[in-house]
């Protein structure tokens, strides 16, 4: 063993170029795999680390309407309490109200922090580790507050926080009843404090079965069968609210909520796990590419080493001994690469985190991490080394001492591997281009309204009461040009859609196909505030015109799917109520920029208006406008923190996930290409080396540098072209699969495939040319010396 190591070490040292190419390629690949590995591990940890994770569930809400099934995790207020009191299987149940930000004060210390309102069982369900206080009684009194460690430290320094009092800027005081450990980065919860849920405060959003307001979490007693339980509660909603026919609730494992959160037609249909699979496959491909480099370079070197092997065999080395020696060499190389990779990873992790917008980390203190790393490195070494070891060790001594190996088959194994490598690279290049193009395509899609300088403010506290005063003041001081109210966030996707509509000459077919997205508005200036284009008719003026309580606006798509001619002034029925169409607006994107635009129905209402939409004056800059708005809002609603969102930022967030995938594929395809080129570079070096004599002869026969260059590049370009022919259809097919998720999508043009192909050829050509030009420039008398 010792002897093997020594020989391996010397051999690596002797062939510095070869060793360098292998180490650079392998360590880059290992860094990539390492990053992908920790990212995946992190994703799998998400909300999957609680001590009782197998019995923790999130309540989901399933509603069926006109054949469309909608599944969501926002549930009705009464569900949690009834589930716990009436079903013995339920050990704990708790609701969580969405995250808000508050300014927390103690003495002179003020800390802005986000937190949730929850039911007392919440802490017991998840068994959050407690630092101070007792989890049994933590949120029992309405003025209790539970802090996380970091927040407690910033409020109270190193002194115990228990029983101290803090104030919210809305005026309420809370007594600290417990301190929890900070949440890990791998949870979808995002709170620094918890306070008891105050149903009176959130009642505006509804506390009956008709409205979905809260997240609901449950812990079942050990041994309970969740499927049976779900059957038992299938009629729960209907039993309590007879008018809700198509709605039911069911439990879904909390550990699955992060990765498997997508539902299609009521059935779980992937989610983030799809992204993980994609990235995981890319990681493996990169490792394969790096291993191929190793195999190719080692076997190419066989020609040079055949003499050494021959001598060893003649001296008495058995095949096994040689296999061992070559394996030692490859494992030693992997271990050196692994160490290099770890060092690179340490330095590059922050960069990677920035690209991904994540907080990944490597658990250095965990022995399992090290064990996995070492096993992984040994496996890679074996994988990369086993084929060359056998090839090299079977070389026949007599042959190897006499003549050089010959190339004759159409494609030898090495060339097959290069083809494989470049096929992968081509697939990744195409994938990157398609993803980028799709994002740009959706990004350039006409939004249909002016998202800039548009601010949305949640209507909370006294805002509703003073709405008119706020509006007048903001318009009078020229901060805003138009102000209106809406029931949903304008960029949101999930505005309710429902049926039971009828209109003049509606065929049953049209009625069935017309599923409306419904937007509630206050009926003052909606069109102007959003900056929509009114194609026909007028805006709703419910605010000044009481008769407009039945006026509706429709979008172009609605008119088209309804099949209406001259729609203005036409009546149409929604259930028993009759509405008049007063205006048609141009289509605008209300949901995902990747989906087709659905029929939209805008109707006025005095109730359930949750957002105030402000079109600010573009003559002033956004900061100044925002400051003005804050002053006015604070004046009328002093107890609430100023909450606002820029609509264009909300819109930009819709692209985040795709952009992340885009960045990931870009980084890793770049790596794949670099590693492939390293391998090609090394291989070209060996091939040219074995052909120096031939090159010399050809030069003496009058070949120009160009002739030689073409001669040497031709073989490699042939391989790359075969790789393109293999990779392009695969990429085309799989990227079409990916694009199928988007209704508003690009179509992969032949020119995209062609430019990816040309790119691969150019990259390969440049790589090979470095070697072949050098060979072509060598004076032939050097390679043709007879002595």
């Amino acid at each position: 063993m010792n002897n093997h190591l020594k020989i391996a070490y010397r051999s690596l040292l002797k062939n510095k170029g070869y060793t360098a190419i292998n180490i650079i390629g392998l360590s880059t690949a290992i860094v990539a795999v390492l990053f992908i590995g920790i990212w995946i591990q992190n994703q799998f940890l998400y909300d999957n680390f609680y001590p009782n994770k197998t019995s923790i569930y999130k309540l989901y809400n399933r509603s069926e309407n006109q054949g469309q099934i909608y599944v969501g995790d926002i549930t009705m207020a009464p569900a949690a309490a009834i589930l716990k009191s009436e079903y013995p299987e339920v050990e704990y149940s708790a609701r969580l109200y969405w995250t808000t930000e508050n300014l927390i004060t103690t003495g002179d210390t003020k800390v802005k922090s986000n937190g949730n309102e929850v039911d007392p069982d919440f802490i017991k369900i998840f068994s959050f580790p407690v630092i101070e206080g007792s989890s049994e009684s933590m949120l029992n009194s309405p003025n209790n507050i539970v802090l996380t460690e970091q927040l407690a430290k910033s409020l109270f320094g190193n002194t115990p926080a228990l029983n101290k009092v803090v104030q919210f800027d809305s005026g309420e005081s809370y007594k600290v009843s417990g301190v929890l450990e900070d949440l890990p980065s791998y949870t979808d919860f995002n709170f620094k404090y918890l306070v008891p849920l105050n149903e009176n405060k959130t009642k505006d959003y509804g506390s009956n079965w008709n409205t979905n307001t809260y997240y609901t979490f449950l812990r079942l007693k050990t041994g309970s069968d969740v499927e049976q339980f779900n059957n038992k509660i299938s009629s729960l909603v209907h039993d309590n609210a007879a008018d809700l026919k198509g709605t039911s609730v069911f439990l879904y494992p909390q550990s699955k909520t992060h990765l498997y959160s997508k539902f299609r037609d009521g059935i779980p249909n992937g989610g983030k796990i799809d992204q993980i699979r994609l990235v995981g496959v890319i990681g493996l491909l990169i490792l394969v590419i790096a291993c191929i480099n190793f195999v190719n370079l080692s076997t190419a070197r066989a020609q040079k080493r055949s003499k050494e092997i021959g001598v060893r065999k003649i001296v008495g080395a058995t095949k096994l001994v040689l296999v061992k020696q070559f394996l030692t060499e490859s494992i030693l190389l992997t271990i050196i690469s692994g160490t290099t990779a770890l060092l690179i990873a340490l330095g590059a992790l922050p960069v990677f985190n920035r690209v991904l917008g994540q907080a990944l980390f490597i658990e250095w203190s965990n022995p399992i991490v090290w064990a996995i790393l070492i096993v992984f490195l040994l496996l890679t070494g074996l994988l990369a080394g086993i084929y060359p070891a056998f090839v090299l060790s079977t070389i026949q001594p007599i042959k190897s001492l006499k003549v050089s190996l010959k190339r004759n088959r159409l494609l030898n194994f090495r060339e097959v591997l290069v083809v494989l490598q470049f096929s992968i690279a081509v697939i990744l290049i195409i994938a990157t281009m398609v993803i980028r193009q799709q994002i740009t395509f959706a990004g350039e899609r006409e939004v249909g309204y002016h998202a800039d300088q548009l601010i949305e403010i949640p209507i909370e506290g006294n805002i509703e009461q003073h709405y008119q005063a706020i509006k007048t003041e903001l318009i009078n001081n020229r901060t805003a040009s138009h102000i209106t109210r809406t029931g949903w966030t304008v960029t949101a996707d999930n505005a309710s859609s429902s049926g039971n509509f009828s209109w003049e000459k509606a065929t049953p077919e049209q009625q069935k196909n017309t599923v409306f997205t419904i937007l509630r508005v206050s009926g003052d200036d909606f069109v102007h505030t959003l900056g929509l284009t009114l194609l026909e008719g007028r805006d709703i003026n419910y605010e000044t015109l009481l008769a407009d309580s039945t006026a509706v606006l429709l979008n172009e798509t609605a008119i088209k799917t309804m099949g209406l001619q001259n729609p203005i002034g036409k009546y149409f029925k929604w259930g028993d109520a009759t509405f008049t169409i007063v205006g048609i607006v141009k289509d605008y994107i209300s949901g995902s920029p990747y989906q087709t635009i659905r029929p939209l129905l805008i109707h006025p209402s005095k109730r359930y208006l949750q957002n105030m939409l402000i079109r600010t004056n573009e003559q002033f800059d956004a900061k100044q406008n925002l400051a003005h708005i804050e002053t006015v809002i604070k004046k009328f609603n002093p107890n609430y923190p100023f909450n606002y969102q820029f609509v264009n930022e909300q819109f930009a967030r819709k692209f985040k996930q795709q952009e992340q995938i885009g960045n990931l594929t870009f980084v890793f395809s770049l790596l794949a290409i670099i590693i492939s080129c390293l391998g090609l570079f090394g291989l070209a070096a060996y091939i040219t080396e074995t052909r120096t004599k031939e090159i010399g002869i050809r030069k003496v026969l009058g070949a120009s540098i160009n002739n030689i260059n073409i001669l040497l590049s031709k073989d490699f370009i042939k391989l790359v072209i075969i790789a393109i022919l293999i990779g392009a259809p695969i990429a085309w097919w799989s990227m079409n699969q990916w694009l199928n998720d988007f209704a508003y999508r690009i179509h992969i043009g032949w020119w995209l495939i062609a430019s990816a192909g040309i790119m691969a050829v150019i990259v390969a050509l440049v790589t090979v040319n470095v070697q072949s030009l050098r060979a072509a420039r060598t004076n032939p008398i050097k390679s043709l010396r007879d002595e």
Binding site: L701, P780, D786
Partner: protein, 221 residues
């Protein structure tokens, strides 16, 4: 045809110049058959390479058909080489992967001849050297003498005026060597100027004159 004036060639060895060629002055007329002789390391091959434009002297003038070769641009020099010179090696240096036919054809490809012209010339060569039956064979399937015949056929395919041969019989037995030399003599009689490097007095005698080299200098006899 060839005029060398004060040719010097040296290598820098630890600061000092180590001369390979020292003040060579040489005149070779068209139709001549010259043998360069001398012990190992005397600079024979270097001189041949300088004449064959494969190597450059450090100092001196070289006129080939009244053209100042060393002042020419690389491209022109390559063209000159292609159209006027053929090279024959001691170890033949055929391309292992190509057949006899393809080996002879290679220089013609580099001269940008059309495939029809190439076919005619190669057929002519195969015929002339009596190797028509071997045209589909690979070099490894031929004897050394046969390989050298192919090497000469290849060198002559471009119909050069000057044939340069570096120990053309060095790897052959005496019978094969004699055949090659009489071939050379015949070629010379047909008008090809030949310069050969050789160790053997017997082979040198085939030429019209002998040039002796010792330590990079011409030795008058």
């Amino acid at each position: 045809m060839i005029k060398l004036e004060n040719i010097f060639k040296w290598y820098q060895v630890s600061g000092a110049r180590s001369f390979v060629l020292k003040d060579i002055n040489l005149h070779i007329e068209q139709g001549d058959f010259v043998s360069i002789m001398g012990p190992s390391g005397s600079g024979k091959s270097t001189l041949l390479n300088v004449i064959g434009l494969l190597d450059e002297p450090n100092e001196g003038k070289y006129y080939f058909m009244d053209e100042d070769v060393l002042a020419l641009k690389a491209k022109k020099r390559a063209a000159l080489f292609q159209s006027h010179m053929g090279y024959v090696f001691q170890s033949y240096h055929l391309i292992d992967e190509l057949t006899v036919y393809e080996n002879i054809e290679t220089p013609l490809i580099y001269k940008n001849l059309s495939s029809k012209e190439r076919k005619a010339i190669v057929a002519d060569m195969l015929d002339r050297f009596g190797i028509v039956g071997k045209k589909e064979l690979f070099p490894s399937q031929l004897s050394g003498g046969q390989q050298q015949v192919v090497g000469i056929a290849r060198a002559l395919a471009g119909s050069p005026k000057l044939l340069l041969a570096d120990e053309p019989t060095g790897n052959l037995n005496s019978k094969q060597g004699e055949d090659i030399m009489s071939l050379f003599k015949q070629l010379n009689e047909e008008g090809v100027t030949i310069i050969q490097v050789t160790h053997s007095e017997k082979n040198a005698a085939y030429g019209h004159r002998i040039i002796n080299l010792l330590d990079g200098q011409l030795k008058d006899i």
